[in-house]
């Protein structure tokens, strides 16, 4: 389950990075961002990718986790970019959903471990 969170966080991270770029703001978010928002979104994007790495290491250890993380960000990036020209808003919203689902999964795992 944590492995699914890796994929979801990688996708969410890339959505934030993509939406923070000047050339993609309007198509993904429908408006241009203030400089501060842009920085915040970029930081959130990198945080998403970093969190994905953390989850990967927790799930399968740093050896396999590193491979899993690289594989996950590649496929997440492909999924996002292939969708961008067709439904940019949907791809961006899916990023939010992915982040929330990942957090939900991680909480669920935490609860299961405690129980």
């Amino acid at each position: 389950m944590i492995q699914i969170a890796v994929l979801l966080l990688a996708y969410a991270g890339f959505v934030a990075l993509c939406a923070s770029m000047t050339k993609h703001q309007v198509e993904t978010l429908g408006r241009t961002l203030m400089l501060r928002e842009q920085r915040l979104l970029r930081a959130a994007g990198w945080a998403g990718l970093a969190a994905a790495y953390g989850c990967a290491v927790v799930a399968v250890g740093w050896r396999f986790g590193s491979v899993l993380w690289v594989a996950a960000i590649m496929v997440a990036g492909l999924a996002l970019t292939l969708n961008m020209p067709y439904r940019p808003r949907g791809a961006a919203r899916a990023g939010g959903v992915a982040a929330l689902t990942a957090v939900g999964l991680l909480l669920l795992v935490k609860v299961l471990v405690l129980a």
């Binding site: 994929l7 770029m21 396999f64 690289v70 590649m74 496929v75 990036g77 970019t81």
Partner: protein, 528 residues
């Protein structure tokens, strides 16, 4: 960066990519399929059952060998993992009187062999097929040529793939700025360039890793000089790193201990590792030795090492010494390439990256024509070189998937008692690929794209139906048996077929952007 340098790299990228592209596409697609080699084999052997636990499989194999070859010189058991449903056992009978006692060739068969069902331990006689092994082998040693020559061809292609990757990265001016950019609705050249860039850049770590480690897997063939300089010959090197068990004289009968506890002990020594190959020398004798080689599926490295036990007392005698840093590095690279350690999720990610790599090669090939079509003196009657590339592109992009499907069709449709049946399945790959190229040559290019892609889509997507009509493997039965691997296999075939059908539809609906006729060049513009 220097413009002239970038331009020369662009030239290098274009022409190496084109020249090796068609073989590279076949290598990428068959290699990608090889991540599911055991599943493909299972699908192609509908007579076999479901995977079983390691202990069940070994117990079945042991019982069989004890019955059939109690006094053999040696036994070997290929222990199946959770993805395989059969056990391959082989044994080497005692030499016949007067027969010279030749030492066994490295990697050579043991003489007699049998395929057993992993669950029941009974002999199964699956249809004659090479299964997933064909896709795996053709991916790095070609076909219809000596194996070593084929490996050199594959190495040459991989080397130029590496050249194309490095020169491509240098040529690409805006890797990070354009990382999420895909504009399929723009003019053909722009759209194909975007598609090529995104499949190349986003999966670049995979492409670089798979190409480089691919070369590493065969480095002892390509660059033997280090080994030869230090050991005298590559054979001497392999003898040193993989010592062959010396022939032990028989010392008189003694019962062989059960293999189960030995497996358990090996697993304990490895901290949970699984056995992969179990071989026994002199079973039923006081000198019996049991060698257990570790399955590499729980580590990045592809070499698990082996343990040797006394066959009568079960005492651990020797363990393979730890590898040095050089061998360990090479083994990890080998392991990364093969991905045998990957759990299902990671295996699917590997598979997706392999498809991205195939798409990268295919879009690169198409880009070559897209970039030149507008510049042709007469677009309706292109010159020979352009036509050659265009037709080979169509015949290969649609023909290789069709050829791979043809192997599976042949597996189900060829008569079971056909002589050379397994070889004919393989011929099916090349016959179909050749027919698709011929198809692309005789039809107008636009129509050829639509027709060949549609035909490939049909060949791939119809396979579950063909299987259901001709064998006991079908989706309903797989689901009812809880055989998820085979159920997912059928669904994946339909999904891949749908992807090809989508491409055919896109090709049919494609309307070339009409470029306004170029005005005569004004002298003023030239001055500017």
């Amino acid at each position: 960066m220097n413009g002239a340098f970038r331009q020369s790299m662009s030239w290098l990228h274009t022409w190496t990519g084109l020249l090796f592209g068609w073989i590279l596409l076949a290598m990428f697609l068959t290699g990608t399929a090889s991540y599911f080699r055991p599943e493909i084999t299972r699908w192609m052997q509908p007579e076999t059952g479901k995977p079983a636990s390691v202990s069940t499989a070994v117990a079945g194999a042991e019982a069989y060998l004890r019955k059939v070859a109690p006094n053999a010189r040696s036994w070997s058991i290929s222990v199946p993992d959770a993805r395989q449903s059969t056990v391959l056992v082989s044994w080497r009978p005692q030499p016949k009187p007067g027969e010279a006692d030749k030492p066994r060739r490295r990697g050579g068969r043991l003489g007699e062999q049998a395929v057993l069902d992993a669950g029941s331990g009974q002999i199964v006689k699956p249809r004659e097929t090479r299964g997933g092994e064909f896709f795996y082998r053709v991916h790095f040693q070609m076909h219809y040529m000596p194996v070593i020559l084929g490996r050199w061809v594959a190495g040459l292609c991989a080397m130029f793939m590496l050249v194309a990757i490095v020169s491509g990265v240098i040529t690409h001016k805006r890797i990070f700025k354009d990382i999420f950019t895909f504009r399929p609705k723009k003019a053909a050249q722009r759209a194909w360039l975007d598609a090529h860039n995104l499949t190349a850049v986003l999966a670049l770590p995979f492409h670089a890793m798979i190409t480089y480690t691919g070369l590493v897997t065969l480095m002892s063939l390509y660059m033997p000089w280090g080994m030869v300089a230090n050991y005298g010959s590559t054979e001497a090197y392999f003898d040193a790193v993989f010592p062959r068990a010396e022939a032990v004289r028989r010392q008189g009968p003694a019962p062989l201990i059960p293999l189960g506890p030995v497996m358990a002990k090996a697993s304990e020594v490895w901290g949970g590792g699984r056995p992969w190959i179990v071989s026994v020398t002199n079973p039923g004798d006081r000198s019996a030795r049991i060698e257990v080689t570790r399955h590499s599926g729980d580590q990045l490295s592809n070499l698990g090492g082996s343990l040797t036990f006394d066959g009568v007392t079960g005492r651990l005698l020797t363990r393979e010494p730890d590898m040095g840093p050089g061998r360990r590095t090479a083994a990890v690279m080998y392991g990364l390439h093969m991905g045998r350690y990957a759990d299902p999720l990671l295996r699917w990610l590997y598979f997706s990256c392999g498809l991205a790599g195939s798409a990268m090669v295919a879009t690169g090939l198409i880009l070559w024509t897209a970039a030149r079509r507008q510049k042709l003196p007469d677009p309706d009657r292109p010159h020979f070189g352009f036509r050659l590339v265009e037709r080979l592109n169509i015949g290969t992009v649609a023909g290789v998937p069709a050829g791979m499907a043809a192997v599976l069709w042949a597996n189900r449709l060829l008569p079971l008692d056909l002589a050379e049946r397994a070889a004919w399945e393989v011929h099916g790959f090349f016959i179909a690929w050749g027919l698709f190229i011929a198809w692309a040559v005789v039809r107008p290019a636009r129509k050829a794209w639509v027709e060949t892609l549609a035909a490939a889509a049909f060949l791939v997507a119809a396979l579950p139906l063909v299987s259901a009509l001709t064998s006991r493997r079908n989706l309903v039965r797989s689901l009812a048996d809880g055989d998820w691997a085979m159920a997912v296999f059928d669904v994946t075939l339909v999904a891949l077929g749908a992807t090809l059908a989508f491409c055919a539809l896109k090709a049919k609906r494609y309307k070339p952007t009409v470029k306004p006729k170029r005005k005569a060049v004004q002298p003023v513009e030239v001055a500017a």
